[in-house]
Every structure is written in C-alpha cells, then in structure tokens.
Amino acid sequence: MSTEGYGLELNILIIGVGGQGTLLSSRFLGDVALRLGRDVKVSEVHGMSQRGGSVETCVRIGENIASPIIDRGMADVVLSFESVEALRALDYLKPGGTVIMNTQEILPMPVISGTAVYPENVPERLKGGNYNVISLDALGIAESCGSPKCVNVVLLGVLSGTIPGIPEEVWLESLKNVVPAKLLDVNLRAFEAGRKQGGNETKV
C-alpha cells in the first residue's frame, strides 16, 4: 500500500451480507480515488445475492487498472461488515494486509437451521496470522451515532484512519458526494467515530 504523493495503489475487498450497504462503500472509495486523480475500477454484485447472501465488492485503485476483480492473495485490505464474512474473504488478503472487521454476527440460514456451525470468537481467532486485524463493534458505534444503518460509514472511517497521507477534506468531500444530504450529519458523526479507531490495531 503506497500513498506517497497521492500515488495511491490499493486493492480493497469489501464483503458483507446482502442489504448491509456495501455498494455505498465502493462508490465512496471510487469517488476518493477520482479526487486523487487515480484510475479506479469497482466491481459490484447486484441481484440475487443481495437477498441476505454473501456479497463481495472489489475496489482497485492505481495508475492504470485493467481487471476490476481482486484475486486471491491480492487485497491490501479486507473490509468486512460481518464477523464470519471476514474469515470467508481471508484468501483474498495478501500477507501483511489488513482486515478491518465489524464484530457483528449475522447467522446464515444453514447455521440457524442447525446444518452448519458459526465459529466462536472469530475476531480473536483471526489474530496471530501474518496480517493485521482491526475489529470493532461498528453496529454499536453506528447506533450511538444515531443510526444502525451507518455501519458502512463507520468502517470507512476506520479505513481512512489506516491510510496516511490523504487530507481529511478529501474523505469528507467524497462522503458528502455519496450520502443523501439529509443524512449527512449522522454519517459525518459515524465517519469521525470510525476514523478515530483506525490505526488502533489491538482494538477488539
């Protein structure tokens, strides 16, 4: 990951459960990249998976991006909206990369119906590998900021805190550009709350 002179090179895999607002995150990151004058490609998943399935979105920022897809071992950051989804995306992360994860657990139907098991203590057990983990209760933070729907913006705030060298105004301008005007205040609070957590890699 390099941000020198805004020469941002970054592959971010966003993963979550359909309906959690992952698409807004990728639009936001794309907007940031454009403001920095970088090339960017975003690959989104629409359609059936959005009905409660596992949803992956790739964001690739660089000088000249060809494929919109992130392969295994290629992601600098996995941004996960749900606990076990972070685990699901782990193969995409490169050694030395960073997992930013919401500790919220949303049980998949096979777990609810008893045919599969949801592993315990996923955030803790993900630590100790050859990569960094930032885990936080983004849902709790979003609720305390005024809306549980701001989980995505809390996580984006965390991400922004881990990427040095980009002026805060750039992030905020992009945020203003992608969230509806009437929801800007709550989203700004959520972003700031997340941003404070970024870089504190021992936070559980």
Partner: protein, 600 residues
C-alpha cells in the same frame, strides 16, 4: 468531467448523448440499471414494458417511425425478444435501433449461462462488445450511427463484469437528433414471403460489408510478439494483466467478425490464443477461416466466468503459482459456514412457502425472489425453468396425472401427489403468465395458480410494473387489476388472501386445490423492503414463556435464532417487526417490543 460510472450507467449516458428518443425494457440482472439511469434523464421517453418481446417491438416501431430507439434486457430476455429481432434484421431500421443485451457468465443471478453471441450469428445482426465503462459509453453512441448507416438493428453485448463494474468516464452533453422522416415502404417493412425473400438477400450482402466495418473496430496492442491473443469484452482486461507482453488483437465488433484483421494477426505471431468466456465462438470462427493452430478452450473453461487467476492458472499451470494468500494461525476459510441468499425478514413470500411446505404440495415455481422458496427450510418448490413457466408446467403435470388416472394406471409408484399449485410473482405473471392461465381455462385444466403480489418487481431491485399503478418515472397510471384480469380470461374462482394470515391462507389453498376447476389465489402483501412498509418496533421473546418447541424457527426467518439453552431469540438488528412469527407461538412468548425491550 470524469464520472465513475457502472457499465450500465455508461451505456445509458451514451444512448442519452446520442439523442435516443424511445427506450423500452423489461428489468433483468445484470441489465436493469441502463433503463433506470435513462429514466432519470430528461428529453427521452422511457418505459418498463410487460416483457422483452413487447419492449423490442416498441423499440422497432419507434425506429421504423424514424426515432432512435433502444431496448435493454438480460441474456434470457433475448430469448423472449428473439422473434421480433430475427425479422427486424430483415426489415432494417430508419432511426437507429440498439438492443442492449447483458449475459451473466457464472450465473450470478440467472437460471442459465447462455451465450448471446450466437443470436447475432443466427439473426445476422451486428454485435459490438465493450470492455469497460468508457467503451460502454462510446460504443453505445456509435451503435446508433452504425445502425443507421447499415440499416440494421445493432446488439450491444454486455456481461455482468462490464455492466456492474465502475470505471471513470469522460461524459459530454446530449446532442438532440431530429427524428428521421418516415416514408411508407411496404417492400421494406412488411415482411411477407415475397418481400422477406428480397430482404434476405440484402441481409447477406450487409453481412459481407459489415465484415469490413468490423476491421475498423479492432485495437492492436504490442504488435510483433511471439504470443498473440485474440479477445474481446471483459476478457481483454484480464489478458492485459495476465499477458502484459503478448500481442493482443482486441475485437470491438464480434458479429460479423473481422476476417481480414484476424488473418493478418494470426500470420504475425507464432502462438495464437483466443481468450473468451463461455462458448468457443471466436475460436471456432478462427479455425473456420483456415487457421488450425489456434487454441482457446483447450486451456480456458467454457463454464462460468473467467478472471485473471483462472486464466493464469489454466495457461501457465504450476509454472506460475497464484499469489500466496495471508495465513491465519487459527481459523481457515473452510470454517466459514455457507451463506446462501434467503427470503428477507418480513418477506410476504414466507407465509406462502411455509404453508405450501406444511401442506406438502407439488409446486411449480417461477423467476423472482420467491424462487428462494426452493431453499431450506421450505424446500417447497419442485421445478423452475423460466419466466412464466410455472403455470404451463402445473397444467402439464396435472394433465399427465389425469391421463394416467383415466387409464386406471394410478400414480406411478412413490408419486403420492396431494396436489399441484403454480406460484408466480405479480410482475412475472404479467410478463408471460397470463397466456399460461388462458391455456388452463381453454383446455379445461384445474390448476391452482398463486400469484405472489408484493406490489413491485422485487429481485431486480424494485421496478414498477403494470400492476403497481406507477410508471418508471413514478407518474400515476392505470393499475392492472389482477382479479378482474383473471376473471376476464375465464377463471371463476379468484380470491385475494393475506399470506401472513396462516390459518386463512392454508384454508384457501386447501379449498382451491379441491375445487376441480381453474382457480387463482392472489397472495397480497407488499415487499418488506418497500419504502412505505413500516411495521414499527421489532418483536421480542419472553424467555420465561418460551417452551423451546422450535415452531417459530420453522419459518426460516433470518431474525429468529436460538440461544444455547434452546430458547428462541430475536436478532433485533434484523427484525422488521412484521409479527408473522407471533402466530406461530402457542405459548404467547413472542410479542412486539415495547419501550425498554419487554413484551406487551
């Protein structure tokens, strides 16, 4: 100004700037956002039509009348629109006519993985294929000119990864294009045998001329290398990454294929590959024109989508291992439980499928969110083929039973069929279910059809349809009355039921399957994701009253969980408060959450 546009948004922008007058489409992933985007722009007429055939006919009419027109659909939608397409190819156009067709390699949201390129080949309609959002924008603009210049419909072929990827696009302004004068021309536009035969010859000649045009749509990277790769669309982007040093012939027009350019390219390299998703469409052509040493499907699977990793592994094999992923000290990816899509909390279809699974009926299904009724825990769908098929299939199943019964052969061993019902959504019913219902009435069937009326086209992301009373631009319009419609085609037994009224709905289904004549149950309750739907606070479980019987769990609601002690528990971050589960509890343990979180 550069904007970060989805491929679909860029197609819309290109069409708009090209002055398109009329756009008519039926929603279908991954094509839906083209028409949605256009409907938010000024000066263009946009509509959702009942199905792709109608949308194509509207666009053809607009084009013959002299306007620039477009219809947009997913790959299987082109099956529905194929009839008008094949003959519009003969008639040609007046104003430019573009079919935007999005394939879904890898079946992200589709029932099959068909390759639309063969439609271009067999309908003799030029097809162009962009590889990113900028090309989506530019190719769409050029498509209208191409259509007018060569007097033909043009197919813009997209795939999921092009339609649903964003990349920067330099957009401009709309150029108002005057409608072309309409001149009556029976020989050209009335396709009877005598006229069509003459047009057929013109189409053949057009193919020949267009093959030369196709030479202008190529892009050549790194000429003169040993390894040469022919590719198009999204695969071009993958090839750029996997083979940065190879010579690449990128094709923009994929029907007709540029024979001359391909021959020249083939002669300039030592090893020739074709990288394409799905069928060996380009590869077969390259062989056909006398280049036997080409390879493609020998390496690259025809199943699903390709990608840089797949292409790299298929070609280099163990020589170039994939990048090493991060390694966890504790958990591995295989420890993550599967997360298949599921009916949302508050989904009205849950009431229907819970009831049908309880009654153990045979259910023919259809295309929409409600296809998830086939998944656990309901497993209450027996077959699903295509839009509208549920109704015809249930009729066929019942006729097969009837013949067996009349020949006194009884049920085949183990059949044990209690009854068959067809389930179909409101939008899908209007798309192509109505004719199935007409068939049941006309041919003295006795099927029960359940129309799942959730007041919207759900799966594709909430589009209006002829039953909702709103147009694509949210203007008020005449809503088709499903009850009146079913009665008008001759169904005497039509009733509206609430799928969340478990007792009432179950009784209605039992009554109608015994009726011995065609019947329709309209299961009416709006999609829980609609803006106007607000059930208020979530429900909660009184742990003291819960007897751990698990009845509520059988609803398969993602918000209803079980604690380690076996007591039901509501995930209040997911519960929408629909209270459907309340009636499942015989012990009164589930109730609306009050301020402070207690049961009322």
């Amino acid at each position: 100004m550069k904007e970060l546009l989805l491929g679909n948004e860029a197609v819309a922008r290109g069409a708009w700037e090209a002055g398109v007058h009329v756009v008519s489409s039926y929603p279908g992933t991954p094509s839906t956002e083209i028409t949605e985007t256009l409907s938010k722009l000024s000066s263009v007429y946009c509509e959702w039509s009942p199905n792709e055939k109608v949308s194509a006919e509207v666009a053809i009419g607009a084009a013959i009348g002299g306007g620039r027109a477009m219809c947009c659909m997913k790959h299987v939608g082109l099956n529905v629109a194929a009839d008008p397409l094949f003959t519009a190819s003969y008639a040609g156009v007046n104003g430019g006519l573009v079919f935007a067709v999005a394939d879904d390699p890898g079946l992200f949201s589709s029932q099959n993985d068909q390759d639309s390129r063969f439609y271009a080949l067999s309908a003799h309609v030029p097809m162009i294929e962009p590889s990113d959002s900028t090309e989506c924008f530019e190719f769409t603009k050029k498509a209208f000119e191409l259509s007018e210049k060569y007097d033909t419909p043009v197919i813009l072929r997209l795939t999921t990864r092009v339609s649903h990827s964003r990349s920067p696009v330099e957009v401009g302004e709309r150029k108002a294009v005057p409608k072309k004068p309409y001149v009556k021309d029976i020989q050209k536009y009335v396709m009877m045998p005598g006229m069509a035969k003459k047009r057929q010859a013109i189409v053949k000649e057009r193919d020949r001329i267009m093959s030369e045009e196709a030479d202008k749509w190529i892009k050549l990277d790194n000429p003169g290398r040993k390894l040469g790769i022919i590719t198009s669309g999204i695969c071009y982007q993958y090839v750029r990454e996997v083979f940065p040093d190879a010579s690449v012939l990128k094709l923009g027009m994929i029907y007709p294929l540029p024979e001359k350019a391909i021959k020249e390219f083939a002669a300039s390299v030592e090893e020739l590959l074709v990288v394409e998703e799905l069928e060996p469409y380009i590869e077969d052509f390259v062989r056909q024109i006398g280049i036997p040493y080409v390879e493609g499907k020998k390496y690259f699977t025809p199943l699903g989508e390709l990608g840089t990793e797949k292409i790299r592994q298929a070609y280099y094999g163990a020589k170039t291992p994939a990048a090493a992923p991060a390694e966890s000290s504790g958990l591995t990816v295989s420890d993550a439980p599967m997360r298949p899509p599921t009916l949302c909390p508050g989904c009205p279809h849950r009431g229907v499928f819970y009831t049908l699974s309880q009654l153990k009926l045979r259910v023919t299904g259809d295309i929409g969110c409600y296809t998830l009724g086939a998944a656990a825990p309901y497993k209450s769908m027996d077959a699903c083929i295509c839009m509208g098929a549920s109704i015809g299939m249930s009729h066929g199943m019942e006729k097969a039973e009837a013949v067996a019964a009349s020949e006194a052969l009884g049920d085949a061993e183990g059949d044990n069929i209690r009854g068959t019902v067809a389930v179909i959504g409101d939008s899908t019913f209007v798309h192509s279910g109505i004719t199935g219902l007409v068939n049941i009435v006309y041919n003295k069937g006795a099927s029960t059809v359940i129309i799942l009326d959730n007041s919207i086209t759900g799966m594709t992301g909430h589009q209006q349809n002829p039953t909702t009373g709103k147009t694509i631009r949210m203007e008020d319009t005449y809503p088709i009355d499903l009850t009146q419609l079913c009665k008008a085609v001759g169904v005497r037994r039509v009733r509206v039921e609430d799928p969340f009224d478990l007792k009432g709905f179950r009784a209605a289904v039992l009554e109608e399957i015994e009726a011995g004549e065609p019947s329709v149950i309209i299961a009416r309750r709006p999609c829980a994701l609609l803006k106007g739907v607000n059930y208020g606070r979530p429900v909660t479980v009184d742990a003291d009253k819960c007897r751990r019987c698990g009845a509520c769990m059988r609803l398969g609601c993602p918000a209803i969980l079980k604690t380690d002690a076996g007591v039901a528990k509501i995930d209040r971050s997911l519960c929408v408060g629909c209270e459907f589960c309340v009636q499942m509890c015989r012990f009164g343990a589930i109730g609306k959450e009050q301020e402070g979180g207690c049961v009322k």
